[in-house]
């Protein structure tokens, strides 16, 4: 048998790393870089002292950046993207040989989609009226209707979507991507996670956690409402702050002179310079006052009659600004924590009533984001992903007007760089309950996102506790059918 796979980081070559880092961080002395080079841990070509220098992927890619619109709580595929005429026909009838008990309890009768479906665009794709603005974009979207999850419980399932395993403590997709590719902008975080204005998603920070990857690669939570923490010292005058900064530099430089070859020390000095630049860039990028009125209007950011939508719209605008500035990975959450479906898409009991509210918040801003990005040419190198942790059952729960959790067949989609427009991949059964054709575990979805970014999901690894860990565990097949 062969030796176990090489534990060296497989994605990078040292020469490429050095030349890239030299341009990205020109202010750092060459000596220091060389020292850093020598200090690189043997297990990895990612220099943890300078984790964000841009790095090449495994192969050339169309997508360089990603926006993930993450709908927490499990959006019903049946009310949105997966058209099932048979379900309309059998509305109110019991499902023979269906499960007696699902996640939350006994199953009730089949229930037709709660929104009208109609054909859209040139492809004639059937999409419901629930999200009219997004529905306008179907000609550009690649739908995957046959996704499956490994868990029917929000916590593990959001873990699975975000980290490729239902357990806690594994690196999120955004962490893997920033670990692999670094960032194009050293003055902003490489990976930004924007919680919904109503609160953080069900699984909280595990959705943007670094797991066992270095903490550098964790998503930085911020939004139009909540800036990055610690951008300035409380109660310290600007003059004192300047004096402290300059004294710190001299103190550290003197110390470095006594330890001239230590790259880690030099890197910490550089990190303070980066921090100072971030202190300037972050307020600049989060200040939306320079956005013209028609932009604010198109996202719905100016319409305070629905303050939650306005706040989500501001997050969407901020996401676009981040991408424009070279942030690698933006995760935009729509929907908050467990609340009986009042604050997220978990429509167990009053699905229609709640989805009316949630759809109004998601639809216009998200559609405007995609249109705005296209108009600016950003979709040339940016992938947009719309996803949710699982789907919902074709029947209502007993005694309720909502649907229970369904991990066996649900829809997510992508559009933008590298994605074939106007396609639908995979099929669920006639009632939309289970994927039956081209069954695609979420592993495949994540493998495809990595592929679009020029990363081979089987080669993007990190050794942890004796295992070459991957986002896709030992699974995953790229969905070539949706690639442009």
């Amino acid at each position: 048998m062969n030796q176990p796979s090489n534990r060296a980081h497989p994605i990078l070559n040292r020469r490429g790393f050095l030349s890239d880092s030299a341009t990205a961080l020109g202010s750092i002395a060459l000596l220091d870089l060389l020292a850093g080079d020598r200090l690189l841990a043997s297990e990895s070509a990612v220099d943890l002292a300078r984790p964000f220098v841009p790095r090449p992927g495994h192969f050339p890619a169309k997508a360089k950046k990603v926006v993930v619109i993450f709908c927490a709580g499990a959006v019903s595929q049946l009310e949105t993207w997966d058209y099932k005429p048979e379900l309309i026909k059998r509305d109110g009838k019991p499902l023979e040989d269906g499960p007696a008990v699902t996640f939350q309890g006994p199953a009730g009768d089949l229930a037709r989609p709660q929104y009208q479906f109609r054909q859209r665009g040139e492809t004639g794709k059937w999409v419901s009226d629930m999200l009219p603005h997004l529905a306008e974009l179907t000609d550009d979207i690649a739908f995957i209707h046959s996704l499956t999850s490994k868990s029917n419980t929000h916590g593990p399932a959001e873990n699975f979507l975000s980290t490729g395993t239902p357990l806690d403590g594994f690196p999120s997709l955004g962490s893997w991507v920033s670990y692999a590719l670094g960032s194009e902008n050293q003055n902003l975080p490489a990976y930004v996670a924007m919680p919904d204005p109503r609160g953080v998603p069900q699984n909280g920070s595990n959705n943007w956690g670094p797991g066992f990857l270095p903490a550098a690669f964790q998503g930085t939570p911020m939004s139009s409402k909540e800036p990055i923490r610690h951008l300035g010292p409380p109660g310290v005058s600007a003059a004192s702050d300047r004096a402290a900064r300059s004294l710190l530099q001299r103190v550290n430089e003197r110390h470095l002179q006594q330890h001239p070859e230590d790259g880690k020390l030099a890197a910490r000095i550089a990190s303070y310079e980066l921090a100072a630049r971030m202190q300037l860039s972050v307020p600049e990028i989060t200040d939306l006052s320079s956005e013209p009125a028609h932009i604010l209007k198109s996202y719905g950011a100016d319409d305070e009659s629905n303050p939650t939508r306005a706040a989500f719209a501001r997050n969407c605008i901020l996401a676009r600004r981040m991408i424009e500035s070279g942030v690698r990975f933006v995760q935009l959450f729509n929907g908050a924590y467990a609340s009986g479906g009042d604050l997220n898409w978990d429509g167990h009991s009053k699905l229609k009533e709640q989805y009316d509210k949630h759809a109004a918040i998601l639809d216009q801003p998200a559609a405007a984001l995609i249109k705005d990005m296209r108009a600016r040419g950003l979709l040339e190198d940016t992938l947009v992903v719309w996803c949710t942790e699982f789907g919902r059952m074709p029947f209502f729960q007993k005694g309720a007007k909502g649907r229970d959790h369904n991990p066996d067949g649900f829809t997510c989609w992508m559009t933008g760089a590298g994605v074939k427009p106007g396609v639908s991949h995979g099929v669920t059964d006639e009632l939309g309950q289970k994927a039956v054709e081209n069954i695609r575990p979420l592993y495949d979805f994540n493998a495809t996102i990595l592929h679009l970014l020029g990363l081979d999901h089987e080669r993007l690894t990190f050794e942890h506790n004796g295992i070459e860990r991957r986002l896709t565990n030992v699974e995953g097949h790229v969905i070539h059918e949706i690639l442009a």
């Binding site: 806690d168 270095p214 004294l247 880690k264 004796g466």
Partner: protein, 1091 residues
């Protein structure tokens, strides 16, 4: 117990049976030859997935023994003589394209299938010794072989080596043509070893004492190490390393992430075990079966992982089975990686890819712990029964105090009853103009002041009180220079604060009056003569620097007779903002038959109230249904057994017994009493159990029926308005009480505090999240790890590659764990001692001799010094598994005493310093940085053990966690005592590669990011500790700036500043204060790196 390595693996009876068949059918097989006819078919169609590089479904067809063994969970794939029964033949023949092999490319031709069929029917002859590849013996791996005491190598330089460790290190260096770095200077070693063993820097006194003795040589060094190892700080430091590995946390993880309130006894157990130098073999056994060893809390080890609680698991049976499997998997992983350094969990779905661990081994390991449940357990001890009785008595006393305290709430001033101002005071200046009146006396009485961000309610302060005449050009006649005299309720006296400063005509904090009482006090000015006055002006700090200590509620009075003053201004104290747990509204007694509680807005969604209590003047809650009171509501959201109107008056607390309105943000409840009552108090809450903070009424009215009309008794308008980020109200406030009430309330509060800490201590002796034990589940091997595909049942057995030891299925639960513990904690186990010796080494040097501390398997790193590792393992066993003995060996070695000095030539040979040609410096961990800052600031609270302090606004739960920014008291304890919320990294120190307790962290990764810089440079924590550090130093050395700078360097860096450092620091300190230098040094590399 015998430990041995089998020379060969996977000798199965199938093979033997096959051999017999082969002999019998030799003659007939002549027509199909394996090498000529069969193997080419395998090569063409099968080896790409079932050969040397890939073994899909665990099947391998290029090695005889493997081919006959078959794939995962499907039994043998070839049954000699029976082609029709052989899965391999069936799969290549299949018509169903989904199950046919190979899945891609051309199916086998009919001729090929015919060849294979005839070959199998004829006995599947596969001659020995003709395979083109050889199966690697997975047992031929260093860590599975017994460790033996190696000879200590002879080295040329006998001077350098102090002990065996040095000989091994030096010998390896010399092989590589390298020489060790010169020793570090004495103080550097002292700082290094102190930080390393205790996680705190040495104090200047310890440095001085050491330097006085250092000339005596080795005994001084030994004494230092003895002192450090005896310090309780040692266990607090080293337990953290262990908790990283076992991913300890104080919440349950996953979506709901609720508090695990009794996890900490395990954390305390680990600290104590390190401090006591509990022999490591016993340490292992206690963690696996401490329930049988009078160390109950130790079994917290078994259940340190994230777990789904019953309410979070789906009601469908597959969800329940999967959750149970996941929770058992975590236990097996924890045991495998922590004690044995093996990733056993890999074999959950298939045989391990690299290590000789089969899926069956994995499930056999599960069977050892199949009776463990994740739950609290009563930890029995001698005192626990007594404590329980004692706690009950104390609890009764607390209930009594609570009843009494409940009456000490300020009266509500509902909006219609308000004949008062409701203005906000300004720290800089407040001007009150009024109709002129003649006055000889003016009194300002303070009822309440704002909360200090870290200290809470403290003494109010006024820099100047001015009283202006009713003249065209008003004069301030309050001035002492104008003959006015001033008295006060009580004054603090210091250089800045004196009573006479209040009317000295000078502004600013340094010329101000400060009360001697928290939150209240009065000053009275006696004018030189009765004068007509028209306005009064006062401020906290007219210079605008200070905004704390600001009076927010006060009465301003004036008149001719000190005992009969006219009230000019009354700003009543605001009642505390509403809290989710409990709120009290007190009002003037009213006789009524009906009370209405109307919610006008909530912080989110439909309002929810867990209990509405109405007290009559005799102190009885007459809202209860059992008192004959009838409830009606505006409308309800009914969830059976959780939200129903009747729960609002059933005497039971908590979300699961509460009323919920059917309308977002509004709703009302009416209570009709059986008889007329004289009522004076309403007590209500959203969730007294403090789990839910949403759906909280934030604006409300309480009315009582008088005749036909509703009379407003209390409302939320005089409370501090609720906002999302409002500081939570203290549970009790003295604002608005009379002085007598305050004294009595304070006395009761103090008594309650003492009682509660006694109760807590008593309770804590009883419960720990240490697992409960029951009859073990039957464990089956699961195909592909899927609980819905159970295969053969298994009984407890240790890893078959390392030893033969199995138990019958009827073995009792505790006995199973005991046998497992004995097997792991045996000196003969080849892995146990090596794994721990390596961890100890790693925690001293940053990297272990084996870099992958949790993986000693074939995929793990090879040891850099195999003999040294074995020597350490043997020495560890020989010392009676004493971890402290190992520390002494290491920190007193010449290897450890090297300087960090760089050597360009050595770096070319060994860039990662694995051969230790110098001491490899590294950044301190998050906890050590925080602790060291607190040690320097003089604020470190050394209280040990018990419930953790809070890093966030709550201890667990669904929604976002708001970080605590300013810490006092308990919050200044060592960070190991922080309540660890799984997945939520601390807002400041989490970025310093602090693990989130999701998965095991065998070694802290060290990354460098601008977020770290922002956190450490700008956080309130740093700013406050810098201030405290500066105050401490000024107190110690006085006003001399040079002395201050020197002291700051001595405390933070254990050295004196050099001349140019002095020169740089002085102007900064003079211009911006000593705290600026403190902030700089907290951020300096020298402070943050192990020297």
């Amino acid at each position: 117990m015998g430990f041995y390595c089998k020379a060969m693996i996977m000798v199965k009876s199938v093979l033997l049976a096959t051999a017999i068949v082969v002999l019998q059918t030799q003659a007939q097989t002549a027509e199909v030859d394996f090498v000529r006819d069969v193997r080419p078919i395998f090569e063409k169609h099968c080896y790409s997935c079932h050969g040397a590089t890939k073994q899909k479904s665990g099947l391998r067809l290029d090695v005889k023994s493997e081919a006959f063994k078959g794939g995962d969970g499907y039994g043998p794939s070839l049954i000699a003589g029976e082609a029709d029964e052989s899965p391999l033949i069936e799969l290549v023949r299949s018509d169903d394209e989904y199950s046919r092999m190979p899945p891609k490319g051309e199916p086998l031709s009919a001729k090929e299938i015919g060849t294979l069929t005839r070959w199998v029917d004829a006995g599947a002859a596969w001659p020995d010794g003709i395979d083109l590849v050889q199966l690697e013996d997975r047992l031929d791996h260093w860590s599975f072989k017994p460790s033996q005491l190696p000879g200590v190598p002879a080295t040329k330089d006998r001077q350098w080596s102090r002990n065996a460790i040095d000989h091994f290190i030096l010998s390896r260096l010399q092989q590589a043509g390298l020489t060790p770095a010169p020793p570090a200077d004495e103080v550097t070693w002292l700082r290094r070893v102190t930080l390393d063993l205790t996680g705190l820097p040495p104090t200047p006194q310890e440095v001085t004492a050491f330097l006085e003795e250092v000339a005596k040589g080795e005994p001084t060094y030994i004494a230092v190490v003895d002192r450090l190892l005896k310090s309780p700080r040692y266990g607090e430091r080293w337990a953290q390393h262990w908790l990283d590995v076992v991913r300890y946390a104080d919440t349950h993880g996953f979506e709901v992430n609720t508090e695990r309130p009794n996890a900490w006894p395990y954390r305390d157990y680990v600290i104590e075990a390190f401090n006591n130098d509990t022999p490591y073999d016993r340490f292992i056994k206690q963690q696996l079966v401490g329930d049988a060893m009078d160390a109950g809390a130790a079994t917290g080890f078994l259940v340190t992982a994230s777990v789904l609680l019953p309410g979070q698991i789906g009601k469908d049976a597959p969800s329940i089975r999967l959750a149970r499997q996941d929770s058992l998997d975590e236990i097996v992983n924890n045991i495998g990686q922590t004690f044995l350094g093996l990733s056993v969990g890999c074999a959950r779905c298939h045989d391990h890819k690299f290590d000789p661990i089969s899926a069956k081994d994995y499930y056999s390991m599960q069977a050892f712990v199949a009776g463990v449940e994740y739950a609290d357990r009563k930890i029995e001890s001698e005192e626990s029964d007594d404590l329980k009785k004692e706690a009950e008595k104390l609890r009764q006393r607390v209930a009594h105090i609570d009843r009494r305290l409940a009456s000490f709430v300020p009266l509500a001033h509902p909006v219609e009853d308000r004949n008062v101002n409701n203005e906000e005071t300004n720290a800089k200046q407040n001007t009150h103009s009024f109709s002129p009146l003649k006055a000889k006396f003016v009194r300002l009485t303070i009822h309440d002041c704002n909360l200090h961000p870290s200290l809470g309610l403290i003494e109010p302060c006024i820099d100047e009180l001015e009283i202006f005449t009713n003249e065209a050009e008003p004069r301030n006649i309050a001035l002492a220079s104008a003959g006015a005299k001033v008295t006060a309720s009580g004054s603090r006296s210091s250089a800045s604060h004196k009573l006479e400063h209040i009317n000295d005509g000078r502004y600013g904090n340094s010329r101000s009056w400060m009360s001697d009482t928290h939150g209240r006090g009065w000053v009275m000015v006696e004018l030189s003569e009765a004068t007509s006055i028209a306005s009064i002006v006062w401020g906290r700090d007219r210079l605008g620097k200070f905004t704390d200590r600001l009076a927010t509620a006060f009465t301003l009075q004036a008149g001719l007779d000190a005992d009969a003053l006219t009230t000019l201004v009354y700003v009543p104290p605001q009642r505390p903002l509403v809290r989710a747990t409990m709120n009290t509204d007190r009002f003037m007694p009213l006789r009524t038959t009906q009370l209405r509680f109307t919610v006008q807005s909530t912080n989110s969604l439909e309002p929810c109230i867990d209990e509405l209590e109405v007290y009559n003047t005799s102190g009885d809650n007459i809202a209860l249904a059992s008192q004959g009171t009838v409830v009606t509501t505006s409308g309800d959201t009914i969830v059976a057994d959780r939200h129903e109107p009747r729960f609002i008056q059933d005497g039971e607390y908590g979300n699961s017994r509460s009323w919920m309105s059917n309308a977002v943000g509004e709703g009302w409840v009416e209570l009709k009493f059986a008889t007329e009552q004289e009522i004076d108090r309403v007590v209500w809450g959203r969730d007294r159990e403090d789990k839910f903070q949403d759906r909280l009424p934030t604006q409300y009215r309480i009315e009582g029926l008088v005749g036909e009309d509703w009379k407003l008794l209390a409302d939320s308008t005089d409370r501090i308005p609720w906002t999302e980020d409002a500081q939570p109200a203290p549970s009790f406030s003295i604002a608005g009480l009379t002085l007598e009430e305050t004294d009595e309330a304070n006395r009761l509060l103090e008594e309650k505090r003492q009682l509660e800490s006694k109760i807590k201590a008593a309770q804590n002796g009883q419960k720990a999240f240490a697992g409960t034990f029951r009859k073990p589940d039957d464990i089956h091997l699961l195909r592909r790890g899927d609980p819905e595909q159970p295969a053969e049942s298994v009984t407890p057995a240790v890893l078959s590659a390392i030893d033969e030891l199995s138990l019958p299925n009827e073995t009792a639960e505790q006995e199973r764990r005991k046998v497992l513990a004995d097997w792991i904690a045996s000196p003969e186990n080849p892995l146990t001692a090596r794994v721990m010796a390596n961890r100890i080494w790693q925690w001293h040097f940053g990297v272990g001799l084996v870099e992958t501390a949790n993986d000693f398997g074939r995929n793990g790193a090879k040891p850099s010094h195999p003999e040294l590792l074995d020597w350490l393992a043997q020495e560890f066993i020989r010392s009676g598994w004493s971890i402290k003995h190992m520390h002494r060996q290491i920190v007193l070695s010449s290897t450890y005493r090297q300087s960090t000095r760089h050597n360009a030539e050595a770096a070319v040979v060994d860039a990662d310093i694995r051969l230790l040609w110098r001491y490899p410096s590294r950044r301190l961990e998050a906890e050590a940085i925080r602790d060291a800052m607190l040690a320097a600031s003089g604020r470190l609270n050394l209280k040990m053990g018990g419930r953790g302090f809070d890093l966030f606004n709550k201890r667990g739960g669904l929604s976002g966690f708001t970080p605590v920014e300013s810490f006092t008291d308990e919050g200044l304890r060592r960070m190991i005592y922080a309540h660890k919320v799984r997945r939520e990294r601390d807002a400041v120190f989490g970025a310093f590669d602090c693990p989130d307790a999701g998965q095991s962290t065998p070694r802290r990764i060290e990354s460098t990011t601008p977020i770290q810089a922002l956190n450490l440079f700008n956080s309130r924590f740093t700013i406050e500790q810098s201030d405290a550090f500066a105050s401490r130093v000024i107190k110690e050395v006085g006003d001399d700036v040079s002395a201050q700078i020197q002291r700051v360097y001595e405390i933070a860096l254990n050295r004196k500043p050099a001349a140019d450092e002095f020169a740089e620091a002085q102007p900064v300190v003079r211009a911006h204060g000593l705290q600026t230098l403190c902030r700089v040094l907290f951020n300096s590399n020298e402070f943050l790196f192990l020297p």
